[in-house]
Symmetry: C2
Subunit: 634 residues, 2 copies
């Protein structure tokens, strides 16, 4: 490295320091510790290593950067500004303000140059693993090489989170040599020194995962540069352990947890700037030579780009509609039949499971298994790593693939915050959650979901669909493939009874009438979903035998139904009468449709280990028990 | 080891094999792979290593055994039976049947000798870490030594899960040398060979955590015995990597994933029994010498026991009630003030946080920090390991401590399935979840909970309390300390306004009237919780200025309110009129109280990064906006 280049990079680093502490001070909120501690890393990344085009931030061949330690956002925004992305000084001054493009943590789609939403610790590493895997998969399938790097900056917190362990084990297994994690190892976390919490040997752990590991001085520009350049030639993922001083430059707070997450304040900011030779009273100062550096860099560099392929979606939907499937299968099996069709029609579609593909029915026989010797495989075996799987799927979706992943509905718990980030990012990830009620049977309450539908239905931007039969499962998939948001498919382990009156259009509207009342009066409206719909129809017949007028509504998706106009919703649920819900999960959330005096036939306790038929009797999910209960209530 | 002892242990192992495959066949459901593969391990554990008293299965000084790979339950039940626990052959025959004591996965309180509920993979290791930590903590505080061991049997799935990484890193850091994990390393998981998913070096990873690691032949009784006996003298936790053959003895299926989770069937069971010299057609056969072995063992061994201390709870409750606290603090700060009182009154109380104790306000200044050199500390620094923290707290609670743990409410997502297991086990763990709404402000949507109250409220056995002020926060703690179930305290980051009319009794009833309507008619009933209660009272005043009659109900806990009698609930919510809820989270679940036509003032999208006051305006959480909306709706 020439002395001049080193000088430029050091000036860039100090500019990042100055801008970051000013942004945090201006907001009176934020985290100065990481920006001060990682300024040289950002400087080398954007000034030396990463290939990108600031005016074309979504260029496919660019290197990706993921700030897994998302609380260090001030450093990222400062860097993006000086590197020429569409982030202005005014944006930096509006750090953490309403509707600014510089929110508290990096948010996908909000800021040019931000590749994914981060903040919840550890997840950036897992999402980046998905992004690196997408590059391998697309590169293996395409005539163009796709050899960009995915570089992550992570802190001690990310390293302590289990999800980073899962993802890093998987990345090592899959030999994702296009993945680099820079570990900002400053020995300090929010609550104090890591000597109180975290004394393992991280480098040895990563070597055990099969990674290339180097330890460097994170403030040495040549060492940062060399370690990154070496990573381009590694045959495995690379962990760069960058020893840094948190809050470097702050005379009072550097090296302590006090600098992690609180503004320095004007006085300390001034003395901090003095420490690295910046004017102490000038705020939001960017030396002209820093702008010149990046202007020169991007006036000369041109980066080739490759077209991104869009999957033809309409033929897939038509093929699903016309698919013939054996009657009365479990909805998981129906979904698996549909999946084989999607596989052949939709080249960007890629499946996977957390060690349950033969049970959650996500395996696509003709797809091949993705491995380090065959990145074209369409089935990803994530291992028993649900959380990393979900976050990796967000990475796959960010890169334009259409990922599906599967596990049992109960274990959606393990994935929850990654599903949330996919929803926040509006990523069309599809989750296939099977074994969707106590009726999975003998595995018992640890495996029987009860509250999980409520937990998922309450999440913004996520569409939850619990189809009742072949027709509705087709509708669920048609929605999922067309959606720009994540979709959770909720499917049975056990065989179901297909219904005669279900419809694709009705299911895609979220709710519709599957059995009209036969007379002019209406005693009961029974609303049901999934495997309980056929039971609801039996109960309706039974009630009619008692002289009652009954309507049955299938409500496979609360979200899709709520999105309909009031007239439509009224046409389905608007007639007065006693409302009854039948769903073998918690009643929580159902009273929106059945009212406070509605009868919820539900499971509001944990389940039990027993054969499904015994559970149906025990929990009152039989035609006779429900009929009696409804009539008794009236 | 004498040849006779070896012979006995091998016969025990084969008896476990035979009983287990018979149990699975009889149920036509279950997992034969682990019982066949780990029979020698079970045999050595119960026949040689563990100190226990089968007729006194909760003896405090016993060694604990945790089957983290809970799907291998048939082996555990078979072993407990032959070792003399109150598990009969009839119980084994009723494996996985309704109300049997031999459910599909081991369940705490259901079966003598089962120490914790397992099945969701990885969690057994984390719960066992809590149990081992409890032994260290209690041992350090008590004049009696408490030197029992906690032994875990875990499989590949447990090892892949992030929670086991978190827990094992923590156990290594805390030098829990009373913890042993036997890793059933059979190279097969449910979905196939682990060569497809899991090729890291687990032993090296555990060495990086600071564990003692040995690799043995898991079918060699002397090797299993020696490795376990050596672990009693280790100064660190021990990982025993036991190489085994899954399904060992099954001529057709051993060594393949086909034997993991499906019954062998009668024919294969017969040939399997033949392979280890058991009568092929006799089912549920236990050789008399096996019973004799354990009868002899437990007629001669007496194990000393130590009294378990019960914390005096009433003085704590009185002290909380009489505590003086500065007005209008954030509820997290109120809770922290209460915590200091609990610390001094309740010796079994132990706190902790996932690296946020200075922010989630769980730190107890006079409690000291627990460390490997001071196990008496009352603050556990779990590091950024939320999931392991939650599962470890279950382990602490199982051992009779009263654990509290804290993080931000959003990160309850990371802990969710461990909270669920605590609820399923009826363990009185207390979760302090702070930063409970968008009003945490600038950190933005990744940190702002929206759907989390719904997710927690829908969980059976968990009591969720969102107190509004000092009085209600005291009530929340009084409930939590008296409860036999887990409690989630939902607390603000921001300062709140104390209310004049809140009451401890009312809050402990879950819901109550804090402002009666002034006239004989009733236009609006406003129901609110937490930081929004003071806003609700302002809105009520504003509506009354418009000539409306308004009642305001504080509803800090759905679960506690639902547990009241109908008369009480009617007295609070029974008067007709328009219902309105005000809570800065999802409306999901609220319609049970406000009806399908109720007005929910709620946050049903993700939040935004901005100062709290700007968010209040943007999301319509102001007196003026809400008043206008309510009047417009009427």
């Amino acid at each position: 490295m020439t002395p001049e280049h080193h000088h430029n990079l050091q000036l860039i680093a100090n500019t990042i320091r100055a801008l970051s502490i000013d942004a945090v001070d201006e907001a009176n909120s934020g985290h100065p510790g990481l920006p001060l501690g990682c300024a040289e890393i950002f400087s080398v990344l954007y000034g030396d290593f990463l290939r990108f085009s600031p005016k074309n931030p979504t260029l496919h061949s660019r290197d990706r950067f993921v700030l897994s330690a998302g609380h260090g956002s001030a450093a990222l925004y400062s860097t993006l500004h000086i590197a020429g992305f569409e982030v202005s000084l005014e944006d930096i001054k509006r750090f953490r303000q309403l509707h600014s493009i510089t929110p508290g943590h990096p948010e996908y789609r909000e800021t040019p140059g931000v590749e994914t939403t981060t903040g919840p610790l550890g997840q950036g590493i897992a999402t980046a693993t998905g992004m690196a895997l997408a590059a391998k998969h697309k590169g293996a399938k395409s005539p163009h090489s796709n050899n960009h790097m995915v570089v992550v900056l992570a802190g001690d917190g990310c390293m302590m989170e289990g999800i980073s362990s899962e993802a890093s084990s998987l990345a090592g297994h899959l030999k994702l040599n296009n993945l680099v994690v820079i570990y900002d190892s400053n020995d300090i976390c929010l609550d104090g020194p890591i000597s109180e919490t975290f004394t393992e040997n991280v480098g040895e752990r990563y070597r055990a995962y099969g990674w290339n590991v180097v330890t460097i001085d994170g403030h040495s520009i040549p060492e940062v540069s060399k370690s990154l350049n070496d990573s381009r030639h590694s045959v495995t993922p690379t962990l760069i352990i960058a020893k840094t001083t948190i809050g470097k430059g702050s005379p009072t707070y550097q090296g302590t947890s006090d600098v992690h997450g609180k503004p320095l304040g004007r006085t300390e900011s001034a003395t901090t700037k003095q420490s690295f030779g910046f004017p102490s009273e000038t705020r939001f100062h960017v030396p002209a030579s820093v702008y010149d550096f990046f202007n020169a860099k991007y006036s000369t560099v041109t980066t080739p780009d490759y077209p991104h392929r869009q999957a033809p979606i309409l033929p897939t939907l038509e093929a699903i509609k016309s698919l013939e499937i054996k009657p009365n299968l479990a909805t998981r099996a129906i979904s698996q039949a549909i999946l084989q069709t999607i596989l052949t029609h939709c080249p960007d579609f890629i499946g996977g499971s957390a060690d349950l593909s033969c049970s959650d029915s996500t395996f696509m026989k003709l797809g091949g298994i993705l491995s380090s010797s065959n990145y074209t495989g369409r089935n990803i075996k994530y291992g028993v790593r649900e959380f990393a799987m979900a976050a990796a799927c967000s990475g796959l979706a960010i890169e334009g693939l259409r990922p599906l992943c599967g596990t049992f509905l109960t274990f959606s718990d393990y994935m929850k915050n990654a599903i949330r980030l996919a929803a926040l990012m509006n990523l069309p990830v599809i989750y296939q959650f099977t074994h969707d009620s106590i009726f999975l049977g003998e595995d018992g309450p640890t495996h029987q979901p009860v509250e999980h539908l409520a937990a998922l239905r309450s999440m913004p931007n996520l569409t939850v669909i619990r189809p009742a039969d072949i027709t509705e499962t087709k509708a669920a998939w048609i929605h999922a493939l067309q959606s720009q948001n994540p979709t959770a498919l909720i499917l049975t382990r056990q065989a179901i009874n297909d219904s005669l009156n279900t419809s694709i259009d009705g299911a895609m509207a979220g709710g519709y009438i599957v059995k009209q009342e036969s007379g002019s009066t209406l005693d009961f409206t029974i609303i049901s979903t999934g495997s309980e719909l056929s039971l609801a129809l039996q109960v309706a017949n039974s009630l009619e035998a008692h002289g009652k007028q009954v309507r049955v509504v299938s409500l496979p998706s609360f979200e899709l139904f709520d999105a309909q106009g009031n007239d439509y919703r009224q046409s389905v649920l608007g007639r007065p009468g006693q409302f009854v819900s039948i769903e073998a999960q918690s009643s929580f959330g159902w009273h929106k449709y059945i009212g406070s005096d509605g009868v919820a036939i539900s499971i509001d306790t944990f389940g039990l280990s027993a054969p499904a038929a015994d559970l149906a009797t025990h929990f009152g999910f039989t035609e006779t028990a429900i009929t009696t209960r409804i009539l008794g209530n009236k």
